[in-house]
């Protein structure tokens, strides 16, 4: 076994310290060590997007990132979206527009959409589809997801006015 390393990182505002083998992927750290199982493991080679989290504010695929690479980073996972039992407006929009069926891919979609709407509060359909292109949904819900993101942008815009 390779020499374990001590890492420190912030996840959803909480500081954490962990001792990890270098080969531990970030998603396995989140799920296995930190018990944040909202982030899902899908393809494990950076294609499906189910494991997407925000790394220093940017959407990345945590199955092709090592936990040691996240030493010193600030992460945000899907668990940070809802507050006090209240869904985040993006989650609410996905619910209202049927942007999910089985829900396996949803945590990843939510995090990428969160990044998109932070950066670009009024995205065009082309902007939205570029972001969604990094995710797979096998319940064939892309049109509903597109509608969900449009609604999420409206909800967030209204909340800010």
């Amino acid at each position: 076994m390779a020499s374990p390393r001590r890492i420190r990182l912030k996840v959803n505002g909480q500081p954490h310290e962990a001792i990890v083998e270098p080969r531990t992927t970030l998603v396995d750290l989140l799920r296995g060590e930190l018990a944040l199982t909202g982030t899902h493991v899908g393809c494990e080679h950076g294609v499906c997007g189910a494991c997407t989290v925000l790394w220093n504010g940017k959407a990345v695929r945590s199955c092709i990132m090592l936990a040691v690479q996240a030493d010193g980073a600030e992460l945000m996972t899907v668990e940070a979206l809802a507050h006090d039992g209240q869904l985040h407006p993006i989650q609410q929009a996905f619910m209202e527009e049927h942007g999910l069926q089985c829900g396996f891919c949803t945590p990843g979609f939510l995090m990428s959409v969160y990044e998109l709407l932070q950066r670009n509060p009024n995205p065009t359909d082309e902007d939205i589809m570029e972001t969604l292109g990094g995710h797979l949904c096998r319940c064939t819900g892309y049109q509903a997801i597109l509608k969900s993101v449009r609604l999420a942008a409206q909800k967030l815009g209204a909340a800010q006015r």
């Binding site: 992927t25 997007g49 959407a59 092709i64 990132m65 090592l66 990428s112 972001t131 292109g133 990094g134």
Partner: protein, 290 residues
Amino acid sequence: MKPPSFEYAAPKTVDEAVALLRQHEGDAKILAGGQSLMPLLNMRLARPGLLVDVARIDGLDYIREVDGGLAIGAMARQRSVEHSQLVQRRFPLLHTAIRHIAHPQNRNQGTVGGSLAHADPAAELPAVALALDAELRAFGPAGERRIKAADFFVTYLTTALEPTEVLTEVRFPQLPPRTGWSFVELARRHGDFALTGVVARLGVDNGGRCSAAQLVLFGVGATPVRARRAEQALAGEKLETPLFEQAGRMASEEIEEPLSDVHASAAYRRDLARVLTRRALTEAASRAAA
């Protein structure tokens, strides 16, 4: 689908990285953004004893204008280059090409240096480097070495870099005046690896004739390749549609046996080379005239 066991080092300087590569020569692999290496590790197609993570080296992620050209640090994230005002304004070919690399979620992590050093034959940046006559800079035990893009891509996933060298920078010269460009590729879905792609640049003189032509095809062989016979057929000629048809046929014929796989047969890739060359030349010529 979990990576095999390996040791990990995160050097703070290029010199430290080179020293580690020397100590573990042949058994170490450089980790940049990991968007190609990590899938290979997860699938256990790569089994290095040591990963040298160069992301902790300060000052390798710059994007700046130098002598009218563009200097990009090897660790600059693809997404930063895509969003760079300098790149959008002065190097639109590079901006266009980068938007074809996988998805935004990959480009947030993926690096310019990593893509060049990985040298996937269907990747965008190696083709752009070849088409723009880029120069790559690497550090090794003997100091800095400068390598022309034409000498850099050796074969599948193999570059002219020594196992003890670290790629540190790529320099793209500015296109000469009155030069049009085009970047086209066809993939099954946007973000997939290109089945075939073409990068074209055309210089045009006052009489509307081609003063310089550079045509790079990618996804059709072990490395991106220049279609030299087609380039020669363009030189000095009037830039008109029948010529683009002819150059497309020539480019398609002069490439060696293209890859044949589950995504596309060799014959299909060869035909794509013809069609995409014609389209790229048409677009480059209209940009050169504008």
